[in-house]
């Protein structure tokens, strides 16, 4: 049975191995590059004023490349589901060859499990290897920038991509079994899996563990270290705040700016500070606006996960994806045993 699985998979396997080789060469090269730049950054980091500048330069040199690579890595499981998973059974059903292979002395569940094991293992190996290489290449950058909880970065490092690959492959396989036609199965797999990859990190991941909560006083200094003020929809909101005691923590939710009595800062006052703050000549990201807002004695309530939970999140997410993949496999086996043709 393994002979057949391999014989039917070998062209795709060759393609996968070739793609992985190209990715590996590039990431090894990039990893060297990042390490060189990191050495330069450390050499320039002799005092704190220079350090901030060197740091932002180091960051901007690789930020876009690494974001692009994280997106690319996120696509690998989707492509595996589409090109390895979806045609796996659909093509047999389409060509009628299931009537040949299912009448040999191998039961359909065994036939299916053998295929899922072989090609599922290949999916996990290809994705896992690419993720490991990217994790290695980006490590000096990640150590400096500390954005390991960023939606894209989290899913493109360490073990989480292994879970994505397992789920994408089995999902594609089951879709092919249900739709019975290759092209529609490929399209559905690609679209639904990518949609799920947006849904999970934004909706499910933050609530995988109960977050800690804390209150951050919004001093001028704290406001200046945030990333943005206000939003398109209006409202007294601040984005990208950091917790002074735990700068690496993942802020899952930030409340609007609140006054001392716990009410949201009126938007007229917020906009007043934003549009026409009293001139004080203060520096920083938001200058006079930060000083103006700080005078209102504001705070925000945040829900956050300390960075010590990083590996717990990685393991939990991987385990959930692998479990979903197992459920889909069990469903596929049940379905192929009962209703086909």
């Amino acid at each position: 049975m393994m002979w057949l699985s391999w014989r039917q998979f070998r062209v795709q396997a060759l393609f996968g191995a070739g793609a992985l080789a190209v990715i590996a060469v590039y990431l090894l090269y990039l990893g060297g590059d990042i390490r060189d730049a990191h050495d330069v950054y450390q050499a320039n980091c002799d005092n704190s004023a220079n350090c901030a500048q060197a740091r932002s330069q180091f960051r901007s040199t690789f930020q876009n490349t690494l974001l692009f690579l994280a997106t690319g890595l996120a696509l690998i499981p989707a492509l595996i589901g589409t090109f390895w998973g979806a045609p796996l059974i659909a093509r047999e059903l389409e060509n009628g060859t299931h009537r040949l292979v299912w009448n040999q002395s191998v039961t359909r569940p065994r036939w299916l499990l053998s295929k899922i094991l072989l090609i599922g293992a290949a999916s996990v190996i290809v994705t896992g290897a690419a993720a490991a290489l990217l994790t290695w290449a980006a490590r000096p950058f990640d150590d400096v920038v500390k954005e390991q909880f960023d939606t894209f970065v989290f899913g493109a490092r360490n073990i989480a991509p292994i879970g994505y690959a397992a789920l994408a492959f089995t999902f594609g396989t089951v879709v092919g079994l249900l739709l019975r036609r290759t092209l529609p199965a490929m399209a559905v797999t690609l679209v639904v899996f990518i949609a799920f990859q947006f849904f999970f990190p934004n909706v499910v991941r933050p609530s995988l563990m109960p977050p800690d909560r804390t209150t951050l006083p919004m001093t001028a200094e704290a406001i200046n270290s945030a990333q943005n003020l206000g939003s398109i929809g209006g409202g007294s909101v601040i984005g990208g705040v950091r917790i002074p005691d735990a700068p690496d923590a993942w802020i899952a939710e930030t409340s609007p700016l609140r006054t001392a009595d716990g009410r949201t800062l009126a938007s007229s006052e917020f906009n007043g500070c934003l549009d026409d703050p009293p001139k004080t000549g203060a520096g920083g990201t938001f200058g006079d606006t930060a000083v103006c807002l700080a005078e209102h004695d504001l705070h925000v309530d945040v829900l956050y996960h300390p960075s010590s939970r990083y590996w717990a999140f990685q393991w939990l997410e991987t385990a959930i994806y692998v479990a979903l993949s197992g459920i889909l496999t069990a469903f596929g086996v049940w379905r192929i045993r009962r209703r086909v043709s």
């Binding site: 057949l4 014989r7 009628g96 060859t97 191998v106 039961t107 043709s341």
Partner: protein, 307 residues
Amino acid sequence: MPHADSPPVLHAEGLTKKYGRRGKLALSDVHLSVPAGRVIGLVGPNGAGKSTLLHLACGLTEPTSGSLTVLGSRPAANASHLARVGFVAQNTPVYGAFTVAEHLRFGAKMNPGWDPVLAERRISQVGLSAGQKAGQLSGGQRAQLALTIAAAKRPELLIFDEPAAALDPLARRGFLQNLMEFVLELGASAVLSSHLLGDVEQVCDYLIVLCDARVQVAGDTRELLAGHARLVAARGEFDQPRAGIEVISVEHSGKHSSAVVRTGAATEALPYRSEPVTLEELVLAYMTRAAAVPAARTEAAAWGATR
């Protein structure tokens, strides 16, 4: 080889198959019991339910209701039961990217009872070369390859779904000849379906006529021929039911009516001129009756009920 105590190759009770919740009935309340050691022809027009019956027999689909056993157990119940039944599907599917040799390797890997000597002898007898890609074979060659794969696992029952439908007359003759050689060599039972009686007539010793989702008649071909006759009488003579005979179909020509009838007793006792029927006349008579819906269906049902 047939044994008196071996279970029937096919045994159906109330077998019904419906596609979809409101779909049409592909098989309706089929009762059948086919003894082992026979070559069975399954004949009926397109859409009669032949493929459905054969797919049920090799476990590719499950019945909606009723039961079917093949060689004494549920179809495709486990690996060892799969090994006892060989199936060649309609249009004889093979893997287009595999060579002929790879197909034999496939058969050997997938079947513990694989007979490599038989397989290779047959492949060379029908003139297939090992290195050829199956996707480039002609329809006849592909059918021979599919037949070899099904037979070299040495099954006790070989099932063929319209094996010769897509073949030209020459390839068809070669295929049927090869098929019969396999059946003899393996000592297997075989079921062949066709919408043409001519395909199965030469090789079958047992006939099932399936029309309109129902079995119209089934039995040993010699017994069927002995139990049916063509009677000729004055026009209108067969309009009334008559004890001892069941009229299957009637043709009128001039002053005479000619009927194919099923007879319980000897036809000499009847006051009509009696002639033997050919298998083709017999099958056509049943198909004609089934096709004359809806009157014939109710008649058939009534006959089934009083039997």
